[in-house]
Point group: C2
Chain length 187, copies 2
DNA sequence: TTAAACACTTTACATATGATAAGAAATTAC
DNA sequence: GTAATTTCTTATCATATGTAAAGTGTTTAA
């Protein structure tokens, strides 16, 4: 629990009572490299925090595997389109390395919000941050070339390049592995 | 205020006391077609609700005007990257038709959250919804062709096509006006 | 009402990215 | 440690979209 509490308190500090309540609905879970944390078709009732390792959210379009996002140590992961709508997700979460996650039960978390406004505020801010990141991702996909997107990733998140297979990065950037290889070749 | 209260109560119903508190920090403002509601470089301290009309968020990349999003009647608009970070925005909000907005002072709203948890919950849910929409927009930009994106817009938001100039829609779809015209021609 | 400005389309050509296939390199599994 | 997979690169060709320029149609404003 220490890693998550340390991360949380930078975003919004919560009372020790709230820390305790949060700890009670958390559970540590481990996944081997390549394993699905949650499968396609499953309704998301869990918010994960990455303690160690890397995960990705992915889905299939025309039988092609597409990576929607990566999350590394000290980040939250959830399939928002399912968690916030209650519908089954068309996406899966997969461990890219051997990974340790802290699983937070979302139903119990949302109930805690009634009695612990500081937790609701914390998660509001977490969502705000995710939202801001997502909007800037749209900007990048809307009018940057594939090469610009690759170079920005290299500049801002070079750890991704070091720890994630290129074929996963390609679809994250919205291009094919062949195209990514070509872009890398001309540098 | 009626339109905003009606809209809000579908998302999360709030006490009449909270309605009153919210009304106090709202102000109705009007903008003529083409006018900027908020300019580039301005730090966003306002959340708008569109009472009537249409607005867009736009910015410039290499001197090209790019529309990030449209918002019609009964929707909230804000430049999240500025509102949630406190930094000056690189984007502007513009009225596409003559538009009436309800302006909510964000500093005062965030203060209200301390005494009105139902308001915080309401706005948490509004952000969750925006987040879900934004994630699905990424999906669309990541691996749909320009034609698929156009046809999806036609299917899901045909009102956009009816009320917004095509050149604005083109950049929203991530393509040039010429390319959009070509796609429309082949149907 | 007319000129000016703006929005949209069409054409021709350039270019980035996609698709396919084959080979090289790296990783995994026995 | 070697074979079998998987990942990455390279090459070729096809195609979607970009760029530029010109023409038509529609608003806007004097």
């Amino acid at each position: 629990m220490n890693s998550i509490l340390r991360h949380i308190n930078v975003i919004h500090s919560i009372s020790s009572e709230s820390e305790k309540a949060l700890a009670e609905i958390c559970k540590e879970v481990k996944f081997l490299k390549g394993k699905d944390v949650q499968a396609i078709g499953h309704t998301c009732k869990t918010i994960y925090f990455v303690k160690s390792g890397v995960v990705r959210i992915y889905y299939f379009k025309n039988a092609t595997d597409i990576t929607e996002s990566f999350e590394f140590e000290n980040a939250f992961v959830a399939r928002a389109e399912s968690l916030f709508t209650g519908k089954p997700s068309k996406k899966a979460i997969q461990a890219i390395e051997d990974t340790i996650l802290i699983a937070i039960d979302s139903d119990r978390l949302f109930k805690l919000f009634d009695s612990h406004p500081d937790l609701e505020r914390l998660f509001r801010k977490i969502i705000e941050n995710s939202y801001v990141n997502t909007v800037s991702r749209i900007e990048s996909l809307q009018f940057n070339t594939a090469e610009e997107r690759y170079l920005n990733l290299l500049k801002d998140h070079s750890n991704v390049l070091k720890r994630v297979p290129l074929k996963l990065i390609a679809s994250y950037l919205g291009i094919t592995p062949v195209s990514l290889s070509r872009i890398r070749g001309t540098k």
